[in-house]
Symmetry: C3
């Protein structure tokens, strides 16, 4: 694809040599001539000025004469778009592999691609252009929306609903029982049956080995546009809003509400029934206590999670503590000296 063709498909203008054939894409620091790269932040401007690669950058960028630049106010998003054009996904092969075991009462759209050794239960509906990778198991009464893709070895329990354009990576488990028990007088735990389900919106990506449990009663909800990294645990009855992003290894206990546009770092732990309001940001590794409310737009950090400013103050004070204790000892000495030389009143 030439620069001119690419710019056209991106709906962007360019300056320089539109005939350059783009062979590949690379980060700014390793992109050579003929490759596509982008200016992710003004702080890399010096590096960009020296690059021989085709650059996606804002129009305000002062192009050296020899350089070819595609103009975008959001170079990272434009580069992402370009990558999708340069590396188109493998085309779907509408077919059902002969080793797949499909219940006669499953509804599989004829455009779908069902891989080897897939198992699909009764009353499950697979929509148009869905791809199910090898060795996936999809139980009964599941619904998977158009254009969704499940990689290999995904497990979907009964009655789960997944929207359109989902991407679900290997090892993910959707709809396993929530963790609920009632203790009996003898000390044994009796299972609290988990009879609810899971509903996942459109345009959701679910990372490798992430699990989303079904509700005890009712529904665990994942909103449109949510992006989940690897090895995340979402317990029963959580309700995650739209366009929420959660990084790897984070765990949500039961009944948590996360409102739209929240951003949750990696390795975060959130206690039962906490509420993360719209646009809040939870720093990586923080711990949010049970029933805690993190206010809209707030940025919290640490365990127990507290406003970033407060967390930083405490850290600073903490690092000065040995000095503080030294100061105290000095004060006591000065006090003693004073006490000695002060006449009794």
């Amino acid at each position: 694809m030439t620069v001119e063709e690419l710019a056209g498909k991106l709906g962007l203008s360019f300056e320089g040599n539109g005939a350059i054939e783009i062979e590949d894409a690379a980060p700014l620091d390793s992109a050579t001539a003929g490759r596509l790269t982008f200016l992710g932040s003004p702080k890399f401007l010096d590096q960009a000025l020296k690059s021989h690669a085709v650059l996606i950058a804002p129009a305000i960028y002062p192009r050296p004469e020899s350089q070819t630049v595609i103009h975008s106010e959001n170079p990272r998003a434009a580069f992402a778009h370009a990558l999708a054009l340069l590396y188109p996904p493998e085309p779907i092969r509408s077919s059902i592999h002969p080793t797949a075991i499909l219940d006669p009462a499953a509804h599989i759209d004829p455009t779908a691609e069902i891989g080897p050794h897939v198992v699909i239960g009764p009353r499950t509906t697979i929509a148009a252009n869905v791809r199910i990778g090898p060795n996936c198991t999809i139980a009964s009464a599941v619904r998977i929306g158009e254009n969704s893709r499940l990689y290999a070895n995904v497990s979907i329990y009964e009655r789960v609903t997944i929207g359109r354009n989902a991407i679900i990576h290997s090892g993910a488990v959707i709809g396993a029982d929530g963790f609920g028990f009632a203790r009996e007088p003898g000390g044994a735990y009796r299972k609290f049956p988990q009879v609810g389900t899971v509903e996942i919106g459109d345009d959701v990506e679910i990372g490798a080995q992430t699990c989303i449990d079904r509700a005890a009663l009712g529904t665990t909800v994942i909103g449109d546009g949510v992006k989940l990294d690897n090895q995340i645990h979402i317990a029963h009855n959580c309700r995650i809003g739209r366009n929420v992003v959660i990084a790897a290894q984070t765990g949500l206990s039961g009944g948590i509400v996360v409102e739209d546009d929240a951003v949750i770092g990696g390795k975060v732990g959130i206690g039962d029934k906490a509420r993360i309001e719209r646009g809040a940001v939870l720093g990586s590794g923080c711990g949010v206590l049970t029933s805690k409310i993190v206010r809209a737009g707030e940025v919290v950090w640490g365990t127990p999670a507290r406003p970033l400013k407060e967390y930083l103050e405490q850290l600073a004070v903490l690092s000065k503590l040995p000095e503080t204790r030294k100061q105290l000892r000095e004060i006591v000495k000065r006090l003693e000296a004073l006490e000695e030389r002060t006449p009794c009143s």
Copy 2:
């Protein structure tokens, strides 16, 4: 099922209209007429008094005339029991799917249900009424006790023993090698062969993507009635007692002993050879140091884990630290003033 029938099966008495047909179950705040709900805590009594649903609650509960109440001293446990009756699990279909690959030297009880694409190795014994979900792999010389259920995509390594009534969720891995190496003079790590095994008692539930490693030598033991949430890691040679509950994403290093009735929160990390005594409680996210002993019944929190009271005191003091430093500066000023106006002795 009518209220009268349900109460009879639960062995409980009721007041009100025994002829009501129970259609469904729901939490107290969303249960409408004809549904079953329960009073989980006295603090929801006001809500309960207004409910039109069939209620499970203690007999001391002052029933409004229009309400139907099934009496139980432990409403949560009774509700769990009721759910199991209202939503009976799918009946077992005793059969071996034609795509399952069973070693001729495996012993499969004729009442068992073996799903599609299951692989079972030699000398493995599957007891009566066991269900093995699709795409599970069970290696050689494994024993799985009566009424146990493995969901899809579970992996069981050789020589693992699993008791009766187990529930094992998708993605779980039982019996993988423990993590043991000996460093060689050149710097390379030589694998310490993991030749032990895993023994799991009766009535154990194991969450999605949880893994329990085999012992290096000897046995990793999971006691009767243990309940493990999702994404838990239990390393080689741990010994977990009876009725221990562990929440999601917790990790146990090698050789840890957890005694009966301990309760371990989510995202807890426990160092090698620690000992968690009977009935101890580890707060979510806490970190227990190597070889540490948490005493019977103790409640610990934080990292390094310490008694809850101590943890809360430190938190309180920590939050007052900026104020403490301000106080110090003031003291120094007062000292200086005094030093100036005190005559030399």
Copy 3:
């Protein structure tokens, strides 16, 4: 195997009765006569002196007359070696199971063992003596080197390269998409296509349910001799050096560099683009901030990770804080007393 035979195979000398038949191996505290054990640390010398088992220990060890000792300066490593001889792995059965689905354009060495229900994509190369366990899915253009072993239910995405002698446990996922998105003006996240790959060196062990993501652009690299425990997450574009050891449940964000010989504990979280220099040690549960450099050989602990000495000091000071506040109150009293009895100057 007799003591004499075993010592011969280990290339070690022995004292005592070389004709003893070794039946089994066990830890020092439970090894009985006829079993093999080892002296792991001088602190167990008393126990060793009383043991009836065959002992691997340094030659300096003062052997009681009745004892048989195989001499090694590194008893743990020698014992590991002995275990590998006493419990040889099941021999490979060169064969392709009839239920495996191999693309006609895959290259499978005739000595390889391909288990039931395995799926292998086009242009994938499986070298000599490789074993692929049941229900594994290996996508297109993957390369797996000689003598490597994949246990059941492993998922390998396209274009991943794995070296020789790899051991990959069940549930592992190699090559899933990195977690990269660009936010669009409307608030939706557009996927940043992950078009790079993963390269894994020789002699690497990868634990159950561990995942290693492919690079966004370029390569995620795992060096020779790296040992990864269970449930580890390694994000896109990380570069891990040789002989690095990482314990369970640790997570590495994107673009992290870990140099040779580093040792990383369990449940550690490392922020984007951090650099862990040669031989550094990260204590279990610590949190390393984005872009942080941990210097060669440094031992760090806590969150944010800091030198162990500093961490211990802060812990000590923290535990004295309530006392410090008491001291302050006393100082203020003494000050007031002084102020009262000091004449105005």
